[in-house]
């Protein structure tokens, strides 16, 4: 279907013939026919960009014509901008020497999933839902505040870790007043139905309401499962709640 639309090599425009010849000279024998079009587009765009830049430089230097120096300057500036190449060898050898001098770090035993600090992971939630302004009474059905992961909290240290330390993440809302340390440890948080102290290890209901967490419950011994409630496959490499903000709790309905 492509071939029918494409002009045969004999009657192709001169530019296309030149491009085909260039490809042949560079040793490329197999290519889709659209490649020539793409290459021509690129060449046209590149040349016009350079010539425009050269015109600007030449008028800046108050010259009447664009000459070779202007073009050379334009090329040089564009190269540094668009066509970067990998670092030179001596630079690489230098940084390699520096990096390789430090001994390999020891590996802490029994530390769960070995991931970098949360700032460098893609595991934090990257969206917030607007809270509902309407205050609904607590008994009137579910109000989901999906920012927190729900699970049962247990303050018993003998709570078993479930099998292999999983690579699951915790998503704890940035709204929580406590700076929650997540380094290497995964734990669940109970969502209490009241703002009162939540020392009782009651199994949670699916209804999530308040989100105030008593920090005393969160400790290194409470290592349990958590789940990732957030689809963290976004390309957003700068998740919003990087820093745990101490924001106002107005958004939360204190019930």
């Amino acid at each position: 279907m492509e071939a029918a639309k494409m002009a045969s090599p004999k009657s192709a425009p001169k530019d296309a013939q030149v491009m085909a010849q260039i490809l042949k000279d560079m040793g490329i024998t197999e290519y889709e026919p659209r490649v020539i079009n793409q290459m021509l587009e690129f060449a046209y765009r590149y040349v016009t960009t350079i010539l425009e830049d050269a015109k600007i430089y030449s008028s800046h230097a108050k010259k009447s014509n664009v000459d070779a120096d202007d073009v050379r300057l334009a090329i040089q500036c564009r190269t540094d901008q668009s066509f970067t190449s990998p670092p030179p060898r001596d630079f690489l050898l230098d940084i390699a020497r520096q990096k390789n001098q430090t001994p390999l770090p020891l590996i802490k035993p029994y530390s769960g999933p070995r991931l970098p600090p949360d700032r460098y992971c893609l595991t934090a939630p990257n969206y917030r839902l607007k809270s509902l302004q309407k205050k609904v009474s607590s008994s009137a059905g579910r109000i989901t505040v999906p920012r927190l992961s729900v699970g049962a909290v247990s303050s018993r240290p003998s709570t078993p870790t479930l099998g292999t330390p999983s690579a699951q993440t915790v998503s704890v809302s940035a709204k929580v007043g406590t700076p929650v340390s997540l380094s290497g440890q995964r734990f669940t948080v109970q969502i209490p139905s009241s703002q009162a102290a939540v020392k009782t290890a009651t199994p949670t209901t699916p209804t999530v309401q308040n989100v105030l967490i008593n920090p005393s419950l969160i400790g290194p011994k409470n290592i349990l499962i958590t789940t990732n409630m957030v689809s963290s496959q976004s390309a957003a490499n700068e998740p919003n709640p990087l820093k745990r903000k101490h924001e106002d709790d107005d958004d939360y309905d204190n019930l």
């Binding site: 000279d25 560079m26 040793g27 090329i75 190269t79 190449s85 990998p86 670092p87 030179p88 060898r89 001596d90 690489l92 050898l93 940084i95 390699a96 020497r97 990096k99 390789n100 430090t102 390999l104 770090p105 020891l106 590996i107 035993p109 029994y110 999933p113 070995r114 991931l115 970098p116 600090p117 460098y120 992971c121 893609l122 595991t123 992961s149 729900v150 699970g151 049962a152 078993p160 479930l162 099998g163 292999t164 330390p165 999983s166 690579a167 699951q168 993440t169 669940t188 949670t204 699916p206 349990l224 499962i225 958590t226 789940t227 990732n228 689809s231 963290s232 496959q233 390309a235 490499n237």
Partner: protein, 611 residues
């Protein structure tokens, strides 16, 4: 091994000053050519090695000093004389006609700033030196001294065949001293632990040969003797993660499977099971299979990573938090209950990369998956939630290959920026940077003992790096095209490499020598794998075939006496036909990945291409 001191690039470029009159370059070169062609047969092959590097350096010098017309005529006259395997380089060179072109080309810059290594016997060298030091040939002598490093050895001059086997890389051959460092190629001792016996009818491996008794026995896999293998690295040479209970269970499973393993050999070839990816539209760029052959992953040009379950068991992800709160944590099968059956499927698609995925690697404990892509990042995915956990940014250019260490925790990646990097999953920056290649690092593999990393590159060399200190301990030259596949033998002593030239080369790591050449494939070899006990080497290539080679025979009777170790070359027997045990054609599917299951069944993978 000392790092070569790299002169400042600009200083070298500016030192590229005139070596005599540019119009006489053609005369210098043809004079040398005449001399070499008239020399004795035994010396001619060795001295012919000079043609290519001299040609390139003289041409580049003419270009740099802006003698364009002389450069052009020089190129026209002599480029046809060069060896056929340099044709690709010459084509690149032909497009470098102006000084400005040279500045952007990193590979050419590296070529000029590093000395091209030639290995010549003392007799040939004396002959050459005497000729060049005559008055009229002084210019060439200057160029030789400036840009070439001649590694002289005492002994018989090499034949053309021997030379052709070893040359081809962008920087010539490897200096002898580059391959002298001690390499711990032995395997690490497996930890001993009790193998619980069931009532299954297994032929247990019992080291002492005593009849099997019905009591738990200690099964120490791999440590045939209690003494430390002198070639094995100390256990704590590099820190390795400790074994978790699940890892121990996995090892027990592995041993049970190993007991049922088929013993392969020329008489007993493996069955091959081919997994063809349909409707990939030439988009399949990477494949990996877990060690226990339960999952297969494909990396695609549309930037997706797709994981399939090979067994009837579906892929399950962990339940959401809401559901997890409902389960009874005290029950025995809690590990089953946390898995979500509702979203179980045979295929899971992972989105995240923004460019074609060029490399994938499962972790040994099957919890993580790595993928590297043209977007310059390496991503770590969880196979329990099927979500992305970390993006490791360091290469700012396409990353061509990545692999987990056989013990987990560490992984290596190699890319367009000409370095390989060693990472640990819990560090956002690399732990080691392996710099030294002159062109892209296209293939990276860990040694079975996790202490060394082999990298294959587009500069046609393979380098072996020490994880402990980042030093390059071996340089292997001989391939005539970029290397695309590497495989260590299970005993850690040998390395097999495949490249675009269709040859599989075999290397002895301890001695640093090429010990075998397997000819047969007609196109790039993208997959190489040794069988579980190292008896068979399987290779898969773009020519739609899988070939099986007799590895035991290839590695026996090596002449590794002092002479060959000293000179670094060996007489390769022409035994490719004898070693070839079978060629298996697919209809129209290039082979991208090979994997031996724990029972020595060979799995192969590729995408059906309709042309």
């Amino acid at each position: 091994v000392a790092v070569e001191d790299q002169p400042d690039v600009s200083a070298v470029l500016s030192a590229y000053n005139q070596q005599g009159d540019p119009t006489l370059y053609e005369e210098y070169y043809s004079g040398l050519k005449h001399f070499i062609e008239c020399s004795l047969d035994c010396h001619r092959a060795e001295l012919s090695q000079l043609f290519y590097p001299l040609f390139v350096h003289m041409y580049l010098e003419l270009v740099y000093n802006q003698h364009e017309s002389e450069a052009k005529s020089f190129f026209e006259r002599f480029h046809g004389d060069q060896e056929c395997y340099y044709q690709d380089d010459l084509r690149v060179l032909s497009s470098l006609t102006k000084k400005e072109h040279m500045k952007g080309n990193e590979t050419m810059l590296d070529f000029r700033t590093s000395k091209f290594v030639l290995r010549i016997s003392r007799d040939s060298y004396q002959l050459l030196k005497r000729h060049l030091q005559e008055k009229q040939n002084n210019q060439i002598w200057n160029i030789v001294q400036e840009h070439l490093y001649i590694d002289i050895f005492d002994g018989m001059p090499r034949s053309k065949q021997q030379i052709d086997a070893m040359v081809g890389s962008l920087a010539g051959e490897a200096k002898r001293e580059a391959n002298k460092a001690k390499v711990f190629f032995g395997l690490l001792k497996e930890p001993e632990f009790d193998v619980p016996l069931d009532d299954e009818d297994e032929e247990g491996e019992n080291e002492e040969g005593k009849p099997k008794k019905k009591k738990p026995k200690k099964d120490s896999v791999g440590s045939k003797s209690k003494k430390q293998d002198p070639n094995a690295p100390p256990q704590n040479r590099i820190p390795l993660p400790e074994l978790k209970d699940s890892d121990k269970l996995d090892k027990v499973m592995n041993m049970k499977e190993a007991a049922r393993r088929v013993r392969l050999g020329p008489e007993c070839l493996p069955s091959i099971c081919f997994y063809t990816f349909l409707n990939a539209y030439q988009g399949l760029t990477a494949v990996d299979i877990t060690d226990d052959s339960s999952m297969i992953v494909g990396g695609f040009a549309d930037s997706t990573v797709r994981v399939w379950s090979v067994t009837p068991k579906k892929l399950r992800s962990v339940k959401t938090a809401a559901d997890l709160s409902l389960i009874d944590k005290e029950s025995d099968d809690v590990l089953e209950r946390i898995m979500d059956e509702k979203t179980a499927s045979e295929l899971k698609i992972l989105y995240g990369h923004s460019g074609p995925v060029y490399g994938t690697s499962f972790s040994p404990d099957r919890n993580y998956l790595l993928s590297c892509s043209e977007d310059g990042t390496v991503r770590l995915w969880s196979l329990q939630t099927f979500t992305c956990l970390v993006g490791y940014k360091g290469h700012n250019y396409p990353v061509w290959d990545t692999q987990f260490s056989p013990y987990g925790y560490y992984f290596v990646s190699g890319g367009h920026d000409r370095v390989a990097r060693l990472w640990a999953t819990d560090h956002y920056q690399p732990l080691r940077i392996f710099a030294g290649h002159l062109a892209d690092v296209t293939c990276t593999r860990f040694h079975p003992n996790s202490n060394y990393i082999a990298t294959g590159s587009a500069d046609r060399t393979i380098r072996l790096w020490d994880v402990l200190n980042g030093n390059c301990v071996r340089i292997f030259t001989g391939h005539k095209g970029p290397i695309h596949s590497l495989a260590f033998s299970p005993n850690g002593r040998f390395l097999a490499t495949g490249a675009t030239d269709g040859r599989v080369l075999l290397w002895d790591i301890g001695h640093g020598l090429m010990v075998g050449e397997l000819k047969g494939h007609t196109d790039t070899i993208y997959a190489l794998r040794f069988s579980r006990d190292g008896e068979i080497l399987a290779s898969g290539a773009m020519d739609n075939t899988v070939r099986l080679w007799d590895a035991v025979k290839a590695f026996e009777d090596l002449e590794t006496d002092d002479f060959t170790t000293a000179t670094g070359h060996i007489n390769l027997p022409e035994n490719s036909q004898d070693l070839l045990l079978g060629t298996y054609m697919t209809k129209s599917t290039p082979v991208v990945h090979l994997h031996f299951t724990r029972r020595n069944l060979l799995l192969a993978a590729g995408a059906y291409s309709s042309q």
